[in-house]
C-alpha cells in the first residue's frame, strides 16, 4: 500500500482545484466574473484557469453583477454550466433581481423544461478587516428565496467536495465562501480529492453530550474552539456544521439535539430575521419534549456591518458562545 503524502492545503487552493477539475471534466463549465481571468480573482480562486482553459472558458466580464448573472442565465439556457463569481457579498446585490426573478424560478416557471444549472460563488462574512461593503452575511436573503440551494463549506475538504457538487447540480446553487477561512489550512490530499459531497447533509464536527452548537461556514472553527474551551467548565459540546442551509438537514440537527437536550445556533448574520430564528423554530418543532432549555441564538448584532476596527465586538466569539451555553438552564439539573 502506497502512502501519499498529505500536505496541508488552504481552502482557497481546494476551491481553485474544484473549479479546475470541474472545467477539465465538463467542457460546458464556464467561469465568469470580475477579474477572474488575467488576475485570477481578487482572492485568486480562479488563478490559472484562463491560462489553462482560455478566455472563452474563464472570462473577465464587464463590471456589472446583474449583467454577469443575467448573461449566465442565457448561457445556461443554451446548455452551458456557468460558474459566476460575485467579487464580494455586498457586490452581489445588483444581481439580486436576476437571482430572485429568474434564476430561482426558471425551472418552476417552465414546468421543468428549462432548468438553470448556475453556480453563484459569493465570498461572504467578516473577520478580514474589510472596509464597508466587504463583510456582509447575506445568506438569509438567499435562504428566503425558493428554488435556490444555499451551501457553505467550513473545511478545506468540504470546499472541494461541495463546490464540485454545486457545479454538478442541475439546480442553481448559491455557494457562499467564508472569506476568512480562505487561508485556513487542513490536511487534504489534492491527488485524492475528497468525494463530491451531496448537497443537503449536515455533519457532526465534534461529538459531545451536554449541548449542541448548530453553525455553519465561518462560525464552525469558532464553535469548535468554544467547545474545547467549554471543557474547562465541564461541558461536552457537540458541534453540527450545517454545510447546506437549503436544503436544510433537519434529520442530523434534530438527532443531535435529541441526544444533548440543549442547543445554541451560532452565525455572523444578524439575529433578527436571520437564519437562527428559522433553525431554532425547526429544532423546537421537532425536539420540544427533548429540550431542557429554549434554543438560544448567538448572532451578529442587528446593525449594519461595523467598520473593521470594531468588528471583533460584532462577530460571535468564544466568550459570547460560552455565555449562551451558560444560560441553557443547567441549574435545573443540579
Amino acid at each position: 500500500m502506497t502512502t501519499v503524502a498529505v500536505k496541508p492545503a488552504t481552502m482557497a487552493q481546494a476551491l481553485t482545484r474544484a473549479l479546475r477539475d470541474a472545467m477539465a471534466d465538463d467542457p460546458s463549465v464556464h467561469v465568469m466574473g470580475e477579474d477572474v481571468g488575467t488576475l485570477g480573482g481578487v482572492f485568486r480562486i480562479t488563478d490559472g484557469l484562463a491560462k489553462e482553459f482560455g478566455e472563452d472558458r474563464c472570462t473577465d466580464t464587464p463590471l456589472a453583477e446583474a449583467g454577469i448573472l443575467g448573461t449566465a442565465v442565457g448561457m445556461a439556457m443554451y446548455g452551458l454550466r456557468p460558474v459566476v463569481e460575485m467579487q464580494f457579498d455586498a457586490f452581489a446585490y445588483p444581481a439580486f433581481e436576476q437571482l430572485v426573478s429568474h434564476v430561482s424560478r426558471m425551472r418552476n416557471r417552465t414546468r421543468g423544461k428549462m432548468p438553470l444549472p448556475v453556480t453563484i460563488r459569493i465570498p461572504y462574512g467578516g473577520g478580514i478587516g474589510g472596509v464597508e461593503h466587504h463583510s456582509d452575511s447575506s445568506e438569509a436573503y438567499y435562504m428566503a428565496t425558493p428554488g435556490l440551494h444555499v451551501v457553505t463549506p467550513a473545511t478545506v475538504a468540504d470546499a472541494y467536495g461541495l463546490l464540485r457538487a454545486a457545479i454538478a447540480s442541475d439546480d442553481p446553487v448559491v455557494f457562499l465562501e467564508p472569506k476568512r477561512l480562505y487561508w485556513s489550512k487542513d490536511s487534504w490530499n489534492p491527488e485524492e480529492p475528497a468525494p463530491v459531497e451531496p448537497i443537503g447533509r449536515a455533519v457532526v464536527r465534534r461529538q459531545g453530550r451536554s449541548a449542541t452548537l448548530i453553525t455553519y461556514g465561518p462560525s464552525v472553527p469558532v464553535c469548535l474552539e468554544a467547545a474545547e474551551a467549554a471543557r474547562a467548565e465541564g461541558w461536552d459540546l457537540e458541534v453540527v456544521d450545517l454545510r447546506s442551509l437549503v436544503p436544510f438537514d433537519d434529520e442530523t440537527v434534530a438527532a443531535s439535539v435529541r441526544r444533548t437536550g440543549r442547543a445554541v445556533v451560532v452565525h455572523e448574520s444578524g439575529g433578527f430575521g436571520g437564519p437562527g430564528g428559522e433553525i431554532a423554530a425547526r429544532v423546537t418543532e421537532r425536539c420540544f419534549h427533548y429540550l431542557e432549555a429554549p434554543v438560544l441564538r448567538v448572532a451578529g448584532f442587528d446593525i449594519p456591518y461595523p467598520p473593521p476596527m470594531l468588528e471583533r465586538h460584532h462577530l460571535p466569539g468564544v466568550d459570547r458562545i460560552l455565555d449562551a451555553v451558560g444560560r441553557l438552564q443547567w441549574e435545573a439539573e443540579g
Binding site: 464556464h30 478566455e55 446583474a66 442565457g74 425551472r107 433537519d250
Partner: protein, 380 residues
C-alpha cells in the same frame, strides 16, 4: 482565434496618446425613421412578403381583439394589448430563422404566436393556470418576461453561448421604451457590444410606459442613439410600416449573424389601447392623439400600398379577414374550456428533486385535498 480574443485587446497607452476607440459616425441612426410604404422604395419590396405581412397583421389585430375580449369574459386574468404595434410584433418573428431565438416581454404574445407557439400556450401566463405555457425549446422562444428588460441579458448570454459553441444563432430581444431606463437594458447592451454577441435589440417605442410618456423617461436624442454609447449601430424605423420594420430587422439580423455584433433598433409606434384591460388611458392622454395614430395604422398603410399596386383586392382583404376570424373562433373556443389544474404541480418543479421540507409540505397539501374531496363526497 477564440471568441474572447476578438475583443479589443489590452494595449498600453502612454499618456499623450488618446484616440476614439470606435468611429461613432457609422453607428449613428439616420435623422428620420426608415420608411418603405408610400415611398419609392416600396416598389422594390417583394410582393409575396408584403402579402404575407398583411395576412399576419390582420390576424394579429384580430388576435389582440380576441384576447382583450377574453379578459372581459373572465377567461384571461389580464391582457396587455399590442394593438397598433402589430407590424413590430409580426416582423420580429418573421425575420428569424428556425434556429434563432426570440426573447419577448409580456406585451409580445403576438410575436410569440407569430413565431409558431400555440396561442393558448402563449396566453397561459395571462390566463393564470401556469407561468410559461410553452416549452421554450420547441420554437426557441424564451419565457415572456414580466420584470422589464431582465430578459435582455439572457438573450446576450444565449447568443454568446451559441457563438462559443460555433453555432450560427441570432437572438432577437424585445423591450419597450420604458424598459430602456432599466439597468438591465444598459448592462445587456454593454455586454453584447463587448462580446460582439449576435443579438438584435428591438425597442418598440410606443410612447408610454403605462402612463409615463417618453419625455419623462429619457433625454436622449432618440432611443436608437443610445446604441452609440455602447459601440453598436442604432437604427430608427417607422414601427407602423411593416415593410420597413421587416427590412431593418432583416438587415440587423444579417449584421449580427455575419459576426458584426449587436444592433439596436428603435421602432416608433403607438400603443393604441390602454396598458392593459385594467388600465384607464383617458387619465393620461387625449382621444385626439390616439386618433392621429389611428390614421397611421400599420394595417391601413400596408393595405393602401397593396391595393394601389394591384397586389390586393376586395377578395384578398375578405380572405385575410376570414382567416383571422377562423383563428379567433378557434382561440375563443379553446380558451372557453377550463384549464386542467393539478394543485400537486405546485411542488413538481421547484428543484430537480424536492427538498425534504417541500416533501413535507407536499404531503400536507395532499392531505388537505383528500379531506376536501372526502367532505365533498359526503355532501353529495
Amino acid at each position: 482565434m477564440t471568441v474572447m480574443e476578438q475583443r479589443g485587446a489590452y494595449r498600453p497607452t502612454p499618456p499623450p496618446a488618446w484616440q476614439p476607440r470606435t468611429d461613432p459616425a457609422p453607428l449613428l441612426p439616420d435623422a428620420e425613421p426608415h420608411r418603405v410604404l408610400g415611398t419609392e422604395a416600396a416598389a422594390k419590396a417583394d410582393p409575396e412578403l408584403l402579402r404575407r405581412l398583411y395576412a399576419e397583421l390582420v390576424k394579429g389585430r384580430r388576435y389582440n381583439a380576441q384576447a382583450t375580449a377574453l379578459t372581459k369574459q373572465g377567461r384571461l386574468a389580464v391582457y396587455p394589448s399590442s394593438t397598433g404595434q402589430e407590424a413590430c410584433e409580426v416582423a420580429a418573428a418573421l425575420v428569424l430563422e428556425e434556429r434563432d431565438w426570440l426573447f419577448p416581454s409580456y406585451r409580445d404574445t403576438l410575436a410569440v404566436v407569430a413565431r409558431g407557439v400555440d396561442p393558448v400556450e402563449a396566453l397561459t401566463l395571462l390566463r393564470g393556470d401556469w407561468h410559461t405555457g410553452y416549452d421554450p425549446y420547441e420554437h426557441r422562444v424564451a419565457p415572456l418576461s414580466t420584470p422589464l428588460a431582465t430578459q435582455l441579458p439572457h438573450a446576450v448570454g444565449l447568443a454568446h453561448a451559441a457563438r462559443l459553441k460555433g453555432d450560427d444563432v441570432v437572438a432577437l430581444a424585445m423591450v419597450g421604451d420604458g424598459g430602456t431606463s432599466e439597468g438591465d437594458f444598459h448592462e445587456a447592451l454593454n455586454f453584447a457590444a463587448v462580446w460582439q454577441a449576435p443579438v438584435v435589440f428591438l425597442v418598440q417605442n410606443n410612447g408610454f410606459a403605462i402612463s409615463v410618456p417618453l419625455a419623462k423617461q429619457t433625454a436622449a436624442p432618440s432611443l436608437a442613439h443610445k446604441a452609440v454609447g455602447y459601440g453598436m449601430p442604432g437604427r430608427l424605423v417607422d414601427g407602423n410600416d411593416a415593410a420597413a420594420v421587416h427590412e431593418v430587422l432583416t438587415d440587423a439580423v444579417r449584421h449580427a449573424r455575419s459576426g458584426g455584433g449587436p444592433v439596436l433598433v428603435e421602432a416608433i409606434t403607438y400603443r393604441v389601447e390602454a396598458h392593459t384591460n385594467a388600465d384607464d388611458a383617458t387619465r393620461y392622454r387625449g382621444d385626439a392623439e390616439v386618433e392621429t395614430w389611428k390614421q397611421h395604422d400599420p394595417i391601413q398603410l400596408l393595405e393602401r400600398e397593396l391595393t394601389a399596386r394591384g397586389l390586393l383586392d376586395e377578395d384578398g382583404i375578405a380572405a385575410a379577414r376570414q382567416d383571422a376570424e377562423t383563428m379567433a373562433a378557434s382561440l375563443r373556443e379553446r380558451m372557453n374550456q377550463d384549464p386542467a389544474l393539478d394543485p400537486m404541480d405546485l411542488f413538481a418543479h421547484v428543484y430537480a428533486e424536492p427538498t425534504p421540507q417541500l416533501r413535507e409540505q407536499q404531503a400536507q397539501l395532499r392531505a388537505e385535498l383528500e379531506a376536501e374531496a372526502e367532505s365533498e363526497g359526503t355532501q353529495r
